[in-house]
Symmetry: C2
Subunit: 399 residues, 2 copies
């Protein structure tokens, strides 16, 4: 096949519901909100078998009919795999908690899902230069997939972004800058130059396709659980694309008749105490989350003071019966150390934040031990600061 | 099932062929050589379907009948996946070169395969404390799987081992030391204390099971290629367990009738110019490789001056019609940069060394462009030194 059956009908403004045409270049909707891709799910339901799709190789690209890329030549692939569910047998014996380890994707993070789709669509639409702000992992994924697709990329990072991310992005051909601001400020700078035509802006939710890639986390998870969904999902929430994407995936699967039960998981948006705009808005009963001042946390990936999809995150969390939870950096480090030592699993700080939020919910009874809880570890733990080993050994002296 | 059909018949000294009993603790054979696990392949051939095995989940643990662990409770798992084959579409257009990206395994390297088996067997045999020398990745894999199994681990590393490896090993509960020597010297120190009963030595090929884990690279590769083998394999060779293991796997698959053709690949042992004992012995026509003096290379994983399985490596290379190739550190860095920028794939230095060796063989005609060549990228590129990004951006000044 050179082209997969195309089920995309149109794009839709996530706030107003106004339609937009598929197959042309879009950033935000004409009213300035994120655009969502809509499919002919009724026709897909009649022609597509879930188990046949799941039996395919190719990781997240296997969900082709549920993704916007039309032509096979625009499937930009780097060896995608289905990310494993890892039980926490020693640290949480007998409990229903599992970690979905997204660190196994190309460039070591879940950002691969979204950027593969953004780049694939950019290729399909003929874009030549992509740019965005990044706290690290997204930039690495952009540069890798862009290199693969033969598209130029520029990434603007806060100056304290982990060295590894900057270096890998640069090696992968990305034009990387350390900037004197946080991610939303880097984003404003990037957008201003996109408006001048210097490049196309692929910031979180400012183009319609990263969310389609991220939604494959939900598709994959359901398939791994025998076409059922867990009781609760703990998700590290910066821009929130993955949480919104999974919620969209669950609705699409329901429409396709792919789910064994109607029960959807409670979605828990996890943030750091030093940058918790979604938690603050959730608790205040607001639908939008104003920018967080003086954001600070070791979990760089969720150091996002202002999310353009705030209302989509908060809508999904509320609709699901879930909540938003802030955790301290100390709790993050403690959770990381606990699971690494007990279970041999090195979480990234954002993943560890989700585990810390799970601990809180277990302690106050919001989640029972027997409930199936999925903790998203969004990246390999290897990209982050770890305690330095100081123990020396003199082989001759100790001979 | 609580136990998989057990096909292990005995262990066999790789040098003398003398038999040893399975199911009891072993380091080297009574004559001081590596021990290999032997199976009743005739009985397995009659009862085991290759496609049924390949359709299982669980990454390398799917090959249970071809592995020595008997009881399911000793399958120590951390979310293993089949590692993808990634084409080098841009850097080698039209050529048959693919990268097998082992960095997707738990702890980010192919060492997971061997250590999962060593730890699983240690659990089965009741061992309580494992130790070994490591240039980094092996130690990380040992500590992770040992933590998972509830077994203590000690790792002794050369002082210049990458920080990330030391830190992850320590976080995963390993007792890690920086020692003032190279890996063979760390190994001698570890062995002396194993002899005193302080712990069990799981050094490369000094126990019989790591090679069984490593051989799954060969099983997996054949299945991925439709039960056929490539024309040539470029393998980064330190201790050489993987090369020996794959060669053993190919023979076992042949005996099982699992291969579509009798043709086996030429095996190329790749080393660094600054530490090339196998290359020197290969060129001198020797079966053993004396220790390399003053070993130095940026590719830490192949900085192994003396390999106990030298004769097994050299036998396999010669029998296959392959060769041994040394490459410079400059060529390694160049190969890494080329593929990262052109294809978005960040190789580790050892993987890049294999690509540099492929370049040499293509240039002198030993490998044709249309031949299917598999380059082993043994670990994620994220654990190694990369050029630092210096480009600064002042958001306000550039406003």
């Amino acid at each position: 096949m050179s082209q997969t059956a195309d089920f995309v009908t149109h794009l839709e403004c996530a706030m107003t519901g106004k339609r937009a045409t598929a197959g042309v270049v879009h950033n935000l909707s004409e009213d300035g909100w994120p655009l969502l891709v809509r499919y002919d799910l009724e026709r897909m339901r009649a022609s597509l078998d879930r188990d046949e799709v799941w039996a395919r190789g190719g990781g997240f690209w296997k969900w082709r009919e549920l993704l916007p890329v039309r032509s096979d030549e625009n499937v930009v692939a780097l060896g995608e795999v289905d990310t494993p569910l890892v039980a926490l047998s020693n640290s949480y014996p007998g409990a229903g908690a599992v970690v979905k380890d997204e660190g196994r994707l190309p460039t070591g993070s879940f950002k691969a899902r979204g950027l593969a789709l953004a780049v694939g669509m950019a290729k399909e639409l003929g874009l030549k230069h992509l740019a965005m702000p990044s706290n690290g992992n997204a930039g690495a994924a952009l540069s890798a997939y862009a290199a693969r697709a033969g598209i130029a990329s520029t990434v603007v990072c806060p100056a304290d972004t982990p060295e590894i991310n900057l270096s890998e992005t640069a090696l992968q051909g990305g034009d990387v800058f350390r900037a004197d601001g946080l991610i939303h400020q880097c984003g404003a700078w990037t957008k201003a130059r996109a408006d001048e035509g210097r490049w196309f802006d692929v910031s979180t939710l400012k183009e319609p396709y990263r969310i389609e890639g991220k939604k494959t986390m939900g598709l994959e998870l359901a398939a791994q659980l025998g076409w059922s969904l867990p009781d609760v999902i703990f998700y590290p929430t910066g821009g929130g694309t993955g949480l919104i994407g999974m919620w969209k995936a669950f609705a699409e699967m329901e429409a396709l008749g792919w789910l064994e039960a109607a029960q959807k998981p409670r979605m828990v948006a996890v943030q750091a105490e030093g940058c918790a705009p979604i938690v603050r808005a959730f608790e205040a009963g607001e639908r939008h989350a104003p920018a967080w001042e003086n954001a600070t946390t070791i979990a760089m990936g969720i150091r996002v003071p202002k999310a353009i999809g705030d209302f989509l995150i908060l809508d999904a969390v509320r609709e699901s019966g879930g909540w938003a939870q802030a955790v301290s950096d100390a709790a993050i480090l403690e959770a990381r150390a606990k699971v690494a030592a007990a279970d041999g699993l090195l979480l990234c700080p954002e993943g560890a934040a989700c585990l810390a939020a799970y601990d809180i919910a277990r302690a106050d009874g919001r989640v029972r031990a027997d409930e199936r809880a999925v903790i998203f570890n969004c990246a390999t733990g290897l990209k982050y600061d770890m305690p330095r080993v100081e123990k020396q050994l003199s082989l001759s002296a100790d001979g």
